[in-house]
Amino acid sequence: MKPTCTILGAAVIVMLFPAARASAEEPLKVGLVAEFSGPFAGYGKQIHNGIKAYMKQHGDTVAGRKVEIILKDTTGPSPEIAKRLAQDLVTQDKVDFLAGFGLTPNALAVAPLATQAKTPMIVMNAASSIITSKSPYIARFSMTLPQVTAPIAQWSAKNGIKKVYSIVSDYAPGIDAETAFNKAFTPQGGEVIGSVRVPLKNPDFAPFVQRAKDAKPDAVFIFVPAGEQGIAFVKAFTERGLRQAGIKLIGPGDVVDDDVLEAMGDPTLGIITTHHYSAAHEGPENTAFKKAYAEANGNGSRPNFMAVAGYDGMAAIYEVARKLGGKLDADKAMAVLKGLKLQSPRGPIHIDAETRDIVQTVYVRRVERTKGGLYNVEFDKFPDVKDPGK
């Protein structure tokens, strides 16, 4: 057995050796943990596309180090896979940043790891308020659900919508949205006359929409995960004749996600939502972003709010690298991130120094048919919205 032990021991040392070499010219590694397959495949894809757009525009080197993105697929809401992938990224690849996180459970599972391994974690989509409180090394560049939901309640109350029927998917973000809407709507004089929580994997919204119709509200408040559920819901809403009955459809922008808006078609016309990013937003940063996005990912592809979060997250990573001269230290990185101000394609954003969460402008938009297709056209806004959930 002895020779075998020596050989095994030697093998171990050989394997560990590369890790012992650390030099400043080493690439800046960003571990992207997100969904690239399964029903949420669009999430990881958009985030990655946003990152590619940023790197196309600003090059792939910062502070003398080449930026390397390592992709890891969580395949869906699978916290154990997400945690394992993050562990691999931290121990084997020795990444400088953990980024991505399209879904809340995956982000929550990885949070303690960010603390244990002292690696900054840049959240680029997951939207539950509690995420940033789970580790001092988390900074979020996407949004929180209460942050984008409260404004629609405020806008509706000011614009003649008094009675609302609420339909949300029965899972934590849905319940968050329902609570956030209630909290912001009722003090303004509005009344939620009924509410229903729909199973998460629900194929057919007809009975729920019918219930809403029978209650005769001024508007229906809807929150379902972006993509398939949004399509199914809008179809049921149109089919049941709620629009003809004069009932409006309001909610946070997830239901009219830019990624699927065109495919959803005309039934979406007139839907009023509040969100932090619309591909139709007017501004030089957005124009440049869309151009870089199309160059990096193929003409005709449209960025959505997940892509812009990926873009801004990368911008932050580059900023940290620049400010620290390429020598990354987790605590110093967090110090740079706290209070960081960026002019994003979505508008001005900054990271709250205490909560490390994003503060941004939330726009009120309506789905309209423009020359380029169906878009969420902004017509009002609420600047500097903090996450009310904290």
Binding site: D204, P207, R211, D214, E239, G265
Partner: protein, 288 residues
Amino acid sequence: MLSSLPGVLFDGIAYGSLLFIMSIGLSVTMGLMNFINLAHGSFAMLGGYVCAVGMARLGIPFLATLPLAFLAAAAVGAVLERSLYRHLYRRSPLDQVLFSLGLTLMSVAAGTWVFGSGQQPVHLPAFLLGQVRIFGIDLGVYRLFLIAIVGLITAALVLSLRRTRFGARIRASVDDAQTSAGLGINVGRVFSITFVLGSGLGGLGGALAIDVLGLDPTFPLKYLVYFLLVVVVGGAGSIAGTLTASLLLGLFDVAGKYYVPAIGAFVIYGLMVVLLLLFPGGLRWGAR
């Protein structure tokens, strides 16, 4: 809430009809050949994609895509039955489950690769959209259409089973394959033709279902549970049983979601467990 009852009943019957047409092929296959074909959803998905692609890329009107969906699924069913399925009729249920699960996974992967993982939108012709007011209730036109089509197909199935010679052969083979073979019925051919028909009906169901259930490559896995539910509760091989089970499950699912949405999702599984405990062999009764 009673005023909403007729609307809920109507929706439940429409949903049940859809379940029936998607599952009847599976029921007959399982009852006739004792073959647990979990890949049945793949045939439905194929029919759905034929419909969606036909309309979006080839400009074929919706109603015309329906027979195409049927034929495409039937054709693929014929090929697979000849080459693969028929070698497994005598194998254990576990082998059949694994084989059909493998086939399902391959079809899902193929669907993702060819069509992408997103939803396929389908835009129904204008005359199938909207609602009509009958006896003071708003009824969805498309759901009326669904009920009508399924009614026609059920009638056709029942008539052909009772009145035609082929139907008699099927009934005989379901009752007792050995004796039927002994009487000179080509049981192998009956199996093949039934499988092909069943797959075709599944494909038709898939095309009809797009507007109600959506269409993406994970369709076969997502709705597998519902098909199996209907077949097992109704009793494989029994048309009346499958119809009853579909309608019951459709009604309870819709009613559950409407009246008690908090536990709406439970209702259908709870009902299944209860029915299976009471009728372990399924609800089979009456005509085959």
